[in-house]
């Protein structure tokens, strides 16, 4: 699970172009959207693509993302339990 969390942080920084943020800056329970990392709706769509591409998880309803993308901790748990690759 720790490896998965680190991998997620690295992918988020790289794929969402978070230029001034490093993996070390993101805590497992930090809120990712809104006042947290400041991610927006396009970022949410990018994360949905990442779940499909990297872990074989297809979210058919974007609204699901609100709960799944709450924090690295929540995302990692969801991926761990639902990944197909």
């Amino acid at each position: 699970m720790e490896t998965l969390k680190q991998e997620l942080k690295k992918n988020i920084v790289e794929q969402l172009n978070l230029e001034d943020i490093t993996v070390e800056d993101i805590n497992d329970n930090d809120i990712l959207f809104g006042d947290g990392l400041g991610l927006d709706s396009i970022d949410a769509l990018e994360l949905i693509v990442m779940l499909d591409k990297n872990y074989g998880i297809k979210l058919t309803d974007p609204k699901q993302g609100r709960a799944i993308f709450e924090s690295i901790e929540v995302m990692a748990k969801y991926i761990f339990e639902n990944r197909t690759k």
Partner: protein, 205 residues
């Protein structure tokens, strides 16, 4: 048509150099576009968190506009009555290619939403408008080459019909590492008369 309008300031970004009113304010000769625009953004203290998420055309247009509008000392809390008239030749082809690459393989089909959203040239106008609260008229024209007459006519029309107080206009062209931005601000005040001859002269300087 009113000939009392003036070009109050102009900005160019070309050949790894940023200039304002003819004076170089940043240059860095040893970079490709991506590295150059990032370094220029940091050097010119352009404070906009979403800059790094933009596509290359938007970064180019945004930085040139920011250099000009910073000089206007606009109130960041108030709506600003400045129209935008941009143009280029390549449209959004640079980003269109990236999007095409992401959708051409049916076995590995993962179009990026963040790339797709920039597959229109006028998206750069939106980025500028968000930062500077510009809710006035805007247009993005595609020409074979820089078209001073069209920019002149369009801008004069906006000003003479009181659609706006100022117009931010010009040319923002980008395809890979070939890029060129020439933006200028037209208003009632300034030392350069807003006519075709002066627009062409500034563009070619």
């Amino acid at each position: 048509m009113n000939s009392n309008y003036h070009i109050s300031s102009f900005c160019k970004i070309k050949n790894n150099e940023v200039s304002l009113n003819g004076s170089v304010i940043y240059n860095n000769e040893n970079n490709n576009f991506s590295a150059f625009i990032k370094a220029a953004y940091k050097s010119l203290e352009t404070n906009y968190a979403k800059f790094f998420k933009m596509d290359a055309l938007s970064k180019l247009a945004f930085l040139a506009a920011d250099v000009l509008l910073k000089n206007e000392h606009l109130n960041p809390e108030e709506e600003n009555n400045i129209a935008i008239v941009f143009s280029n030749k390549a449209s959004s082809i640079d980003t269109d290619r990236k999007h095409q690459q992401s959708i051409q393989n049916k076995e590995d089909y993962y179009p990026s939403p963040a790339v797709f959203v920039y597959t229109l040239p006028n998206i750069c106008i939106g980025e500028i408008s968000i930062k500077y609260k510009l809710f006035s008229e805007n247009s993005f024209f595609i020409f074979d080459a820089f078209n001073a007459q069209h920019l002149l006519d369009n801008t004069n029309s906006l000003l003479s019909t009181d659609k706006t107080k100022k117009v931010l206009c010009g040319w923002v062209e980008l395809d890979g590492d070939d890029y060129e931005a020439f933006l200028y601000l037209v208003t009632n005040k300034g030392s350069i008369i807003h006519n075709k001859q002066n627009i062409v002269k500034l563009y070619n300087t």
